[in-house]
Symmetry: C2
Subunit: 154 residues, 2 copies
């Protein structure tokens, strides 16, 4: 039940982007440098966020990315689902009656998976990007490692 680096790095990257893209587009290079991530890997994550219409890109010199929605209209759930795919704890749980596995009728555990799925989605959809950006600004205002060499692995 672990998130992959896609979800972890991607959420951090998007918070960073939200924080720095108010005046001009933010390049992958700059996000990667601030967050201590591989540029090439981050590129792929940004591509996924773009496909999910959370960000848009400006190509060419001076280009980069900007948000495609207001920070308050992007939830952590939107971000994680874009990067991780469905957050369902199982793949063939028959949560969707159309796509359920063939043993769905006699499946006792499917309600368990359904409830876990619902609670995860509810939780991540309640948290919006603006809250996290605010928090990030506060932490930086307090002067905690403005140019930290320590990078979180999450």
């Amino acid at each position: 039940m672990k998130l992959s680096t896609k979800g972890r790095y991607g959420l951090r990257a998007l918070i960073d982007l939200a924080q720095y893209s108010e005046k001009e587009p933010v390049s992958i290079t700059s996000i990667a440098a601030r967050q201590g991530l591989s540029e090439r890997y981050l590129e792929q994550l940004m591509s996924m966020l773009k496909k999910a219409d959370l960000i848009k890109s400006i190509r060419g010199a001076g280009g980069g990315y900007v948000l495609n929605k207001d920070v308050k209209d992007i939830s952590v759930g939107d971000v994680l689902r874009a990067l991780e795919g469905s957050l369902e704890p199982v793949t063939c749980s028959g949560l969707d009656p159309e796509e359920g596995c063939e043993a769905s009728k006699e499946c006792v555990t499917k309600y368990v998976w359904q409830r876990i799925n619902d609670s995860i989605n509810k939780t991540v959809d309640e948290i919006k990007l603006d809250q996290l950006v605010e928090e990030s600004k506060e932490i930086q205002a307090k002067g905690v490692s403005p140019r930290s060499e320590i990078h979180c692995k999450n």
Copy 2:
């Protein structure tokens, strides 16, 4: 964010065990046959459930496993944590202030991981084994595939 077969098979196995162990110990062989699981793999899962004190074993001929607690005192959370380890969505999230990663102070996302963790645990701890056993009996009473050849992969 997927559960492994450990959690999925193990929960099913424990529901099966709870249902059939009222009169006598239930062997791995019989659970594996009913649930369509590998005996050898299931053996490892049962060992984990035993280490977590959820079940106890009776060795030798006629032996098998029985529950070590009342069905109403075993939660899905107990089972999944025994099999999957912590259900935290990240490993070094600094959720525990003692063990947190070194970038913990400046970590914006840790509250997100904390909230996901809390909601998952709350959900799985609310569901007790007795509910699932009841439901399983009902399904079987309705005559849904009493000796089904179709086995759920979850």
